[in-house]
């Protein structure tokens, strides 16, 4: 019985690291655009499938494919923002309109991916990639998973540095807090939003690539991963920059430990139960005040 817990913890941490990227990037965009953007899940898949295309057709090695995937995901998110959400926001569209528009975009992206790549699941690593597993604290972790964790930590550090320590980060925070005032004092909010969307989109594209390295990617799960990121960012606390990170690891751990006694398919259920419990407690707390 005790031998499986460390494994679950490791799985939880790996899952959490992927959720972190999704949660952080989602939160960055949410702070600036103020609506639940489902297209972000589509952008996640753009990153993954671009990398797939390149490696499958032997056009580039793993690292280059990953990088190109990130960049193109960033471009994808950027284009979507400029062609769809920005014009809508300028028209004064409500957050529900934006949400539904993002749903439409997500449907488009998912459909295109299935048409080009079909519904099957695939993994970025080819079968003959050598996989080494290490034993740690009684559980097993593969070199791929170690790589995922490393990339994740680097990404978190870079993002934190960028958004907490630089002037750019402060400007972005100002726009998120009060866009009207920011405009009044001369900040080009559209430009900064565009840049943040690009960065966030490439990060979520990176998440997609990491998912494809780990468990594999298929078109139907992009949205599901986005929801995990959204849940993580809510329960971790959207107001704190690193809140989503905490939420993501918490979610990853609780999902994987939670299926100790249940089968693996209960993970999604656990995630949403956690969300609903959290929102309920938060509501009860505000009612008491």
């Amino acid at each position: 019985m005790n031998s499986i817990l460390p494994q679950l913890l490791i799985n939880g941490i790996v899952a959490g690291s992927i959720y972190t990227l999704i949660a952080l990037s989602y939160n960055l965009i949410f702070k600036l655009t103020k609506f639940s953007n489902l297209a972000h899940g589509g952008v996640l898949m753009i990153g993954s499938y671009v990398a797939l295309y390149l490696t499958q057709n032997s056009l580039a090695n793993l690292w280059i494919s990953g990088l190109v995937g990130m960049v193109l995901a960033g471009c994808g998110g950027f284009i979507i923002e400029k062609t769809t959400f920005l014009p809508l926001r300028k028209k004064g569209a409500s957050s529900m309109v934006l949400f539904i528009a993002s749903l439409g975009v997500m449907m488009i992206i998912q459909a295109i991916i299935v048409i080009i790549f079909s519904n099957q699941s695939w993994n970025l690593l080819s079968i003959d990639t050598i996989s080494v597993t290490y034993s740690i604290f009684g559980g097993l972790i593969s070199n791929t998973q170690v790589l995922i964790l490393l990339i994740d930590v680097i990404a978190i550090l870079i993002l934190t540095a960028l958004f907490k320590l630089t002037l750019f980060g402060k400007i972005v925070k100002a726009i998120g807090d009060d866009a009207e005032t920011a405009k009044v004092i001369g900040i080009d909010t559209e430009k900064y939003t565009g840049i943040v969307v690009f960065i966030a989109s490439s990060i979520v594209g990176l998440a997609g690539i990491l998912i494809s390295l780990d468990a594999g990617m298929e078109p139907s799960i992009g949205l599901g991963f986005l929801f995990k990121g959204i849940i993580a960012s809510i329960i971790g606390g959207a107001n704190n920059f690193l809140g989503p990170v905490v939420g993501a690891f918490f979610l990853g751990l609780i999902e994987n430990v939670g299926i100790w006694k249940l089968r693996g398919e209960w993970k999604d259920v656990i995630a949403f139960v956690v969300l609903i419990l959290y929102l309920s407690f938060r509501k009860i707390k505000t009612l008491k005040e």
């Binding site: 957050s95 309109v97 934006l98 949400f99 539904i100 299935v114 809510i234 609903i276 509501k283």
Partner: protein, 288 residues
Amino acid sequence: MEYLIHLAILLSIYAILGISLNLLLGYTGLISLTHASFFGMGAYVTALLLVHTKTSFLLSVLLGVILVMPISTFLGMISDQFNKNDYMLVSLGLNVIIFGLFNNLSNLTNGALGISGIPRPVLFNIDFSSNSNYLLLALVLLLLIYLFSHYIVRTSFGRVLKTIREDENVSKSFGFNTRYYKLVIFVITASMAAVSGSLYASYFSYIDPSSFSVTTSMLILSITIIGGLASLPGTLIGTLFFILFPELLRFVGIPSEEVFQLRQLMFGLIIVLLMMHRPQGFMGKYKL
């Protein structure tokens, strides 16, 4: 001809779903991504009862509704505690949870393997194994639900729903217990979705959880929005488009595997364009 009957039956099933969501979103302004779950509950109740017992079809429909009512009451009550943004996520979450239950409570639902061999009903000495008879059954149910919805919309009750959509606080200040109104319409529409589920189960004779997922919820939402919010005829048109579009694609020679993806692509595109230029949908009376 047989094929047309098949399409007409599909139309009836999905139109009922579309109408239920239109009452909720188009008239009351509540977005719900959980209705596919109620659709599924109705389907599973009918499936289990028809396969394992000698219950009649209509009774199974009734029991499906009876099952859905308390569950949707409970869900409606907790959903009401959240603001709009959180509410969308909560309703989505509930869909995922119930989908998970369909998938994992294998002792009851047979999990991902689904339930097969669901028989067609035999009512009033008519055997509904023939599709043309089944179409009659489906159309009757659609008609009843359509007329019922049409009635609701014309009443003072329907008017209050619209004010909830427009400005709930002002509506409350006029003395309307808006929480109660929202709950009632939520339960009514959930029950409609359950009826549609029963129709679905008996028609296809096989169901599995994949028909009741988040994707289904989103498709129903698309039908409602494209057809037109707060327009019951609009929902019929939207459903018609939903059913016929793949046929059109097949007609021009697109292979069957791609047809549904192209439909999704088309629908996604239409939704984006509608949001940008005509947020009320084609025949809608309400702009988001």
